[in-house]
């Protein structure tokens, strides 16, 4: 499935695979299909070996070193490099500059502004736009043809990324009901700590998917103030620079103290 939002990126990757470029950077928001496109790039190159690596210095070095020892072609995908430290990014520089003929490195990130220029200058960059509603609807119908019905599912209507759809489809009816009853929570007459707990946990104390909760609040907030606070909260959460409990506490304070 090639979403509309991914078309430009796919074109770029096709070009990069034809010209045997070894260093690729894919930018896109959370759940927009960056790793999916990295695998697509491996398919364009007809390389079956695909390794995913997380942006930690030791892991990056070890993975690349291991792949360099092997003579078979491999595509290494370093996910969300901007989540890791700068040192993880700098650990890549040497390999991006002097890649082996059998190793292709695809780096994904959420925001190119957080990537050092030294990395950007060594990579072909492919950008994925945020998924549109049409993209979401097509994804639902293709991946979940029998079960996903956007018009019946309030949470699917709020989904803003492909991973949101996958998360919603994993929820059971009581979990969906809990999230949809969050409007009762929006009276914000409880303590901040309780509000934060309820936003992030179901009644059985298991964790609730925060992206889905925030999407719901953004779409169905009773006031513009709460909607704005939820948008800000979602933005901070996506940036992943501050702890989740701090972000949610801020949201709870904004709604409780400013309404």
């Amino acid at each position: 499935m090639n979403a509309l939002c991914q078309m430009d990126a796919i074109q770029k990757l096709l070009y990069a695979s034809n010209s045997k470029r070894h260093s690729i950077l894919i930018e896109g928001c959370k759940g927009s299909g960056k790793t999916y496109l990295a695998k697509k790039f491996a398919q364009f190159l007809e390389i079956p070996d695909f390794v995913i690596c997380y942006p930690k210095v030791d892991e990056v070095r070890e993975t690349i070193h291991t792949c360099y020892q092997s003579s078979t072609p491999v595509v290494i995908c370093i996910e969300n490099i901007d989540d890791g430290s700068l040192n993880a990014a700098y650990a890549l520089l040497k390999f991006l500059e002097e890649p082996l003929s059998t190793v292709y490195i695809v780096v994904t990130c959420r925001d190119v502004n957080n990537i050092p220029d030294t990395i950007l200058s060594r990579c072909v960059t492919a950008n994925i736009s945020p998924p549109t509603q049409t993209d979401i609807a097509n994804y639902c119908s293709e991946k979940y043809p029998d079960t996903a019905n956007i018009s019946d599912n309030v949470l699917l209507q709020c989904a803003s990324s492909f991973s949101d759809v996958d998360s919603v489809m994993k929820l059971n009816s009581s979990q969906i009901s809990y999230i949809c009853n969050l409007s009762n929570l929006m009276k914000f007459n409880d303590t901040v700590s309780n509000i934060v707990w309820k936003l992030n946990h179901y009644e059985d104390n298991s964790e609730a998917p925060l992206e889905i909760v925030l999407n719901y609040l953004i779409h169905f907030a009773p006031t513009n103030h709460i909607k704005r606070a939820a948008i800000e909260c979602a933005k901070e959460y996506a940036a992943s620079r501050i702890s989740v409990s701090a972000i949610l506490s801020r949201f709870a304070f904004e709604c409780k103290y400013c309404e």
Binding site: D190, T191, V192, S193, V196, R241, I242, S243, A246, S249, R250, F253, Y257, C258
Partner: protein, 305 residues
């Protein structure tokens, strides 16, 4: 080896043995025992460089008998290196007028000393805080019990505690009586490692002076900022539920909802800024944040822009 109890019993009952080897890290207790023995020998006391020197004095025939004296030999490596069964036998047979005390701190010396001089060697290790306090109360009867407790809390051993008490005892009583733990820490140059709980307490109490005193000893400013957020959430809970159990219950009444909200927002902004590479000095930002606690009403973000 001798036990510290046996040696303590001998020395405190004014019946010291003729030869001791003090090893172990607790220098203060060693000095205490030496002081007691000095008094026992009417302050006839001599510091010598070598054990051999003292043994030679004892072997020499004296026309005028020598007075019982305390001889102290510190860190005589020559004695240690030549220590053998022959030397041990010589010491056992030697008629010592007074007491010879050899002092070592190197733990490596213990093996050789306990092998050749087990009947004279005692390891004086760090004593527990209860004993330290007991000795201090005997040494400094003019110091109040709370101050002794404060000193024991920060001292690593009896010797260090004694030095701090000595300083404290020289301060006029009227001033000394107002001292709290922070003052005792400051006097002794004690740099505590502060935990997040100290930060939370300082913020809840709106004690800017205390927070400034400890800021340079905070292991992680980032963790401290999250501690500030955490205590503000706790204070919010206390305003909604005043009877809930909390360490900060007594401080909640000095916080209004507005203050809690603005302080939370300011702290959050400092954390956000700290994620940016353009922040020059996080400590300055944290001091600025703490300074807001001094205001009777914490200013809003708009007030400060």
């Amino acid at each position: 080896m001798l036990s510290i109890q046996e040696v303590g019993q001998q020395i405190l009952s004014n019946d010291p043995g003729k030869f001791y080897v003090f090893v172990g890290p607790e220098y203060g207790i060693k000095c205490k025992y030496l002081d007691i023995m000095k008094k026992h020998y009417n302050n006839n006391f001599k510091e010598c460089d070598h054990v051999e020197e003292v043994l030679n004095i004892m072997k020499k025939k004296q026309i005028i008998p020598i007075e019982p004296t305390l001889y102290v030999v510190r860190y005589d490596e020559q004695f240690l290196s030549t220590l053998s069964d022959r030397v041990a036998s010589e010491i056992a047979k030697c008629k010592i007028i007074g007491t010879i005390v050899c002092i070592y701190e190197n733990p490596k010396a213990v093996t050789k000393l306990s092998k050749y001089l087990p009947d004279y060697t005692v390891s004086i290790d760090n004593v527990n805080s209860q004993f330290i306090k007991k000795y201090l109360s005997q040494d400094f009867p003019n110091l109040a019990d709370p101050h002794l407790s404060m000193v024991v809390k920060i001292a690593d051993n009896y010797g260090q505690a004694k030095l701090i008490c000595d300083s404290l005892s020289r301060i006029p009583e009227t001033i000394r009586n107002q001292f709290n733990q922070a003052d005792v820490n400051f006097l002794s140059g004690y740099e505590a490692s502060y935990s997040d709980n100290h930060i939370k307490l300082g913020v809840a109490a709106r004690d800017f002076r205390y927070l400034c005193n400890i800021i340079s000893n905070i292991p992680s400013l980032d963790s401290a900022l999250y501690a500030v957020l955490s205590v503000l959430v706790e204070l919010d809970k206390l305003l909604d539920k005043p009877n809930s159990q909390s360490d900060y219950q007594n401080y909640a009444k000095s916080w209004s909802r507005q203050d809690i909200y603005y302080m939370f927002m300011h702290t959050y902004e400092v954390i956000k800024m700290s994620r940016s590479s353009s922040v020059a000095n996080l400590e300055d930002s944290v001091v600025w944040l703490f300074s807001l606690l001094v205001f009777s009403s914490i200013p809003s973000l708009e007030d400060l822009r």
